[in-house]
Amino acid sequence: MRGFGATLGLYEPGRGFLYRTAPAPKAVASLACAVAVIAWRSPTTTAVALLLTFGVLIVGARLSPVRVLRMLLPAAPVLGILALYQGLAQDWLRAFVVVGGITACLLAARALTLTTATQDLLDGVVRLVRPFRRLGADPERFALALSIMLRSIPYLAGLFVDVRQAARARGLERNPRVVVTPLVLGAVAYAHRTGEALAARGLGEGDLDEDPPDDRTGP
């Protein structure tokens, strides 16, 4: 399985002021970026948001400009199609505003996940969800689900590449079923394995004093 952590959302140890910043301000800044590009839709807002997010990743996480651009590679096909559609259906300035805005949001979100250790992110989510405990929410379980979701993105991207290469090796790359079927089966198997691994470690099961009868039989 290939490592897709760098491109698709996992923490990587590094240096720079973003690493020293607490998760909450980074999350607020990321949210503010999204609000700004949606609320004040204009070429100027998009340009400023792009410059800021690029600049912050280059200075704050000490990444090269090429490395920042490579982070966008997985989203490039969708962004390209969207830009083409907006450009042809409306105008190219509008395409810049929409696609540039989405790109800035992606980079802002990536700045958060790249420079925040998953456990710190989990702690932050737990704190955020804690007030909803009265309504029956389980903060630890919520945070765990979020981290597993983040973890599964690079895994599934790697699985897609492996499956596509296996299809190519058999000369079947033009048949979408040969790629989609093992991808879906692999995703389901991954979900099953992850669930079993978490259960085996007693994670996501709530407090010890809550131990209701269970009726799991068979693998």
Partner: protein
């Protein structure tokens, strides 16, 4: 105890008390070894009868049981769910409700104890098979369970890593119940169960059990149960 996924009996009724420090389970593929281990951890529940660990029934006290019984899978990648080893150990420690600082320092201690602190910040996918399996053991043992259950922990390893993991398991304070196809590994245990088609066909000292299993294998027709 029995368990039936889609109507098939995986384990015939059996009555077992597992008290020895090192217990191995050997048998052919599909003989019920993994099912037996999953019953101990409460990952599977019997359709009839009960499984209890230190007096806690896995059906009614499943969470308590799973917190005192660590489970190591054959493929360590199945159980390493965080991007790096340090974070995976920290994830295990979340069940102890420690502060983030305590969690971090304790994760460092655990990784040092297993001699893999230099791998703490590397992706699980970048580790060798042996390093992954040792990390998987560290992740499970971080919460200091009373029992370690390991499902073929050395099957995917080369000879050197096989020896590393075996020596690590031998040095543990915990009671260890493991399945294996490596008969030398089985010989290191105090007691060995031989499973065949969901039945325990031998239960006794490891050397006698291995001899019984070899005989069983030499008699079995190719492709048989």
């Amino acid at each position: 105890m029995r368990t039936h996924p889609e109507g098939r009996t995986l384990l015939e009724p059996l009555d077992l008390l597992l008290a020895e420090r090192r217990i191995s389970v050997i048998g052919a593929n599909g003989s019920g070894k993994s099912t037996l281990l999953r019953l101990i951890n409460g990952l599977l529940l019997p359709t009839e009868g009960t499984v209890a660990v230190h007096g806690n029934d896995t059906r009614t006290m499943g969470r308590t049981v799973r917190r005192s019984v660590g489970f190591v899978f054959t493929d360590p990648l199945s159980q390493l769910v965080m991007p790096t080893g340090r974070e995976d150990v920290e994830l295990s420690l979340r069940t102890l409700r420690l502060s983030s600082g305590d969690r971090r320092s304790r994760a460092g201690e655990v990784l040092r104890r297993f001699g893999i602190d230099h791998l703490a910040d590397r992706s699980s996918y970048d580790l060798s098979g042996g390093e992954r399996q040792i990390l998987a053991l560290a992740v499970v043992l971080a919460t200091e369970p009373r029992i370690l259950v390991a499902d073929e922990p050395t099957t995917l390893l080369d000879l050197r890593n096989d020896a590393r993991v075996r020596s690590l398991i031998a040095g543990l304070d915990q009671q260890v119940v493991f399945t294996t196809h490596n008969l030398d590994f089985a010989l290191e245990s105090d007691r060995t169960l031989v499973l065949d088609a969901g039945r325990i066909v031998f239960d006794g000292p490891a050397d006698d059990a291995v001899a019984h299993y070899r005989q069983l294998c030499s008699c079995a027709p190719l492709g048989g149960p």
